[in-house]
């Protein structure tokens, strides 16, 4: 599988680039953040935009054509995410179109797929993944209990970091039907109606103006038909869902890093000090040139992970961790340098570059940072 885009993928890239630059540029993020007298928009994104994203085929990017989606695959999903990263566009794409679509395609029963996948593609139902329980990512650390009750289960527990949880119609909850607290075996995934009795959702907006809810489940009754995949075997599905999310977050961070870099290089060509453009200073030139190389490396690692997902390769975990780790570090470097090379103006809220730094920080933390993925990679490579 060559590491180049096909003609179809190039078309998706071009249409995503044009779409997000026109419909959801950084100014939109600022508008939503500052809405309601500074309290922020209640939804956290523009539902009109999401409807248009569905029309464009972005919401159904991973939904097979048989279920009303575009079925473009992960490389294409990554290209959409990259455009989102460049424009810092707010949308439920990651939670619904990537995480939930992957969960349903990999683990859903024919009935679940027939019911939910068309609703993802059309944009009418929003999902959220309720997996992490601690502040640091640790996906197999699941203490939420699912005890048999009637013809189904009763769920009890707390989920700490549920992206888009405040708007989700359906939660995908990882709960334990067996096994010890940190074991992979015994984890089961459930489709839970967010309005069901016993579900409490506390919204928290984050440094990057996105939302992650704390979800508490108290004696929440779910039907046996709402188990996603086989009971006790949820970890395999969850790992793949997370890897898809990691690769697509890497793509988003690549967009963040690339755009922050472009804006910074432009600034080096405009700003004058000591009677010359600051871009003439070699100390800055070399840092910019180094950053150029780093962005290229992040691009290669990200593309490789997305290609691995499309081909369902055995090495998906390895390449997803590599992409997440590398793109995260590059997004950090690019946004740190971006703020630093803009000087004082880079620190002002009126100026956009800081938004990139904030998004990079949150995206790095989401689904595992360098330390997490470095550790995972070492284990996957046998040490």
């Amino acid at each position: 599988m060559a590491l180049v885009l096909t003609d179809d993928q190039t078309m998706v890239r071009d249409s995503a680039d044009g779409f997000f630059a026109a419909e959801a540029p950084v100014a939109e993020l600022r508008r939503l953040r500052d809405a309601n007298g500074g309290a922020g928009d209640a939804t956290g994104f523009d539902r009109g935009l999401w409807a248009k994203m569905a029309e464009m085929g972005f919401a159904g990017v991973l939904v097979p054509e048989a279920h009303g989606g575009a079925g473009f695959g992960y490389v294409a999903a990554g290209l959409v995410q990259e455009a989102i990263g460049r424009n810092l566009s707010l949308s439920p794409l990651l939670s619904t179109a990537i995480l939930a679509a992957t969960a349903l395609v990999r683990g859903g029963s024919p009935e679940q797929q027939a019911r939910y996948l068309p609703q993802i593609a059309s944009g009418e139902r929003l999902f959220a993944l309720a997996a992490d329980e601690a502040a640091r990512h640790d996906p197999h650390h699941v203490t939420t209990r699912a005890e048999t009750s009637g013809n189904g289960f009763k769920l009890n527990g707390t989920k700490a970091f549920v992206l888009d949880g405040h708007v989700a119609d359906t939660l995908i909850v990882a709960a334990r039907t067996g096994g010890a607290d940190d074991e992979a075996a015994g984890i089961t995934l459930f489709l839970v109606d967010a309005k069901a009795p016993g579900v409490a959702v506390a919204r928290r907006s984050m440094v990057d103006s996105r939302n992650a809810a704390r979800v508490t489940l108290t004696d929440v009754q779910v039907d046996g038909a709402d188990v996603l995949g086989a009971a006790g075997d949820g970890a395999a599905i969850l790992d793949r869902v997370l890897d898809a999310g990691r690769a697509c977050l890497a793509a988003e961070m690549l967009g963040v890093a690339g755009e922050s870099f472009t804006r910074t290089v432009d600034y080096l060509k405009q700003r004058e000090q000591f009677g010359v453009k600051i871009g003439t200073f070699q100390a800055l030139q070399h840092r910019a040139a180094h950053l150029f190389c780093e962005v290229e490396l992040a691009r290669s690692a990200t593309l490789r992970a997305l290609v691995a997902l499309d081909a369902d390769e055995d090495r998906v975990p390895m390449f997803a961790s590599l992409a997440k780790a590398k793109a995260g570090e590059v997004a950090k470097l690019s946004t740190d340098e971006g703020v630093q090379m803009h000087g004082g103006i880079g620190m002002t809220d009126d100026f956009d570059i800081g938004f990139f730094m904030k998004r990079a920080r949150a995206a790095r933390e989401t689904f595992g940072d360098l330390a997490f993925h470095g550790d995972r990679l070492a284990m996957l490579m046998g040490y």
Binding site: L268, A371, G382
Partner: protein, 384 residues
């Protein structure tokens, strides 16, 4: 695709029959690397392997057949590399002729020069050295002063080169000379090929911090070189010099020579006392090494699809050599006090390889110079 599979099966069978078992062991010492040339002193298996590969043109798989190459497509060449790697076959020939001069000859040489030199490079008969740097012309290479003055059918060459790798072992030199003293510095340079056995050529080895002496000072004292040995046009040598450097840089930056990754080394070493604290340093290096390897792969795929980006050789040279230095540093750490050994019993190469790797970010244009090139050509920063 079916053709490629057939090619793979045939290649596998041919390699099985023709690669001597001794040539399937990893390179352990400097003498294991075959450089060829008039004075080459090869073991029988080295000779057999070089001759077999040379006869097929597989020392230079993608060069045209008429010049001693294999005439393979990029895909076929990739299959050959994969199949050689699968049996851990050594490269039959290391050569500046293959890595640097050959590509420049193919692009800028005239028909006679190509017919004369390329097949001998392919078969490892002539060993080449690179006469670029001078005492006063390093990073600012275009300020070189070695002169070549026309005298009848010849040039008379005078001057001094320095850091000329293997000048004392090479048969021929590709050399940058100034043929026009009055022209602006980039426009008076020409690209000459000549025999190191010519009267007036002398070399004197220089010792490196690694203890080895792979490079020399090279002196030219009224050396007569036929004008027919001028490559390209007089005064246009700088274009050739730069083209050749892009190949040199990609070669130096390329870490993908089939050696063991740090991860593979770590799998064993982490069992030993005191190594565990290095685990995260190792994996962080590996993250960059893997991403770099994928970038080499992506660049090749994009070039094949006609989508190349500019100044890539500078990026690959800069990043690849800095990574290799980091790798050698970590290998020293993994080896602990053992890796400090310089002579005596046991392994003494680790320290020498570590020291040798420091040159990677100097030779072929320093890291700073590569960053300058990226800043100028790719980022188009002012004054760069």
């Amino acid at each position: 695709m079916a053709d490629l599979e057939t090619f793979r099966i045939e290649t596998r069978a041919w390699l099985a029959a023709n690669c001597p078992p001794e040539m399937r062991q990893s390179i352990a010492k400097d003498g294991d690397v075959v450089w060829g040339g008039r004075h080459a002193d090869l073991t029988p298996p080295q000779r057999a392997w070089l001759d077999a590969m040379g006869a097929k043109g597989w020392t230079v798989p993608e060069w045209p057949k008429e010049y001693g190459g294999g005439g393979l497509s990029k895909d076929e060449a990739k299959v050959l590399v994969q199949e050689m790697r699968a049996i851990r076959a050594r490269s039959p020939l290391a050569s500046f002729g293959i890595w640097m001069l050959g590509p420049a000859l193919l692009k800028y040489g005239n028909e006679e020069q190509k017919k004369e030199h390329l097949p001998k490079i392919a078969r490892g008969e002539i060993r080449w050295c690179q006469g670029y740097s001078e005492p006063g012309a390093g990073s600012d290479l275009a300020s070189l002063r070695t002169s070549a003055v026309v005298d009848g059918d010849d040039y008379i060459v005078n001057g001094q080169k320095v850091w000329t790798s293997y000048a004392d072992k090479a048969d021929w030199i590709f050399c940058l000379v100034r043929t026009d003293m009055a022209a602006p510095k980039h426009l008076g340079i020409s690209f000459l090929l000549f025999d190191m056995a010519s009267p007036g050529v002398s070399t004197s080895p220089i010792k490196l911090i690694s203890g080895y002496s792979p490079f020399c000072q090279t002196f030219f004292d009224d050396v007569r070189v036929p004008r027919a040995n001028l490559m390209g046009t007089a005064g246009k040598g700088w274009d050739i010099a730069k083209y050749l450097l892009t190949h040199e840089r990609e070669m130096i930056g390329d870490l993908d020579d089939g050696r063991r990754s740090l991860s593979q080394i770590a799998v064993k070493a982490l069992g030993e006392a005191g190594v565990a604290p290095l685990r995260s340093d190792i994996v962080r290096h590996e993250i960059n090494a893997l991403a770099f390897g994928l970038t080499m792969e992506r660049v090749k795929d994009e070039t094949k699809a006609g989508q190349g980006t500019g100044a890539l050789s500078s990026m690959l040279k800069y990043y690849g050599t800095e990574l290799n230095k980091q790798r050698q540093e970590l290998l020293m750490s993994v080896g602990g006090s053992d890796s400090l050994a310089w002579s005596g019993t046991g392994e003494v190469d680790t320290s020498r390889h570590w020291l040798r790797s420091r040159a990677n970010s100097i030779e072929g244009g320093t890291s700073e110079v590569q960053l300058n090139i990226i800043a100028k050509r790719v980022l188009q920063l002012p004054g760069a």
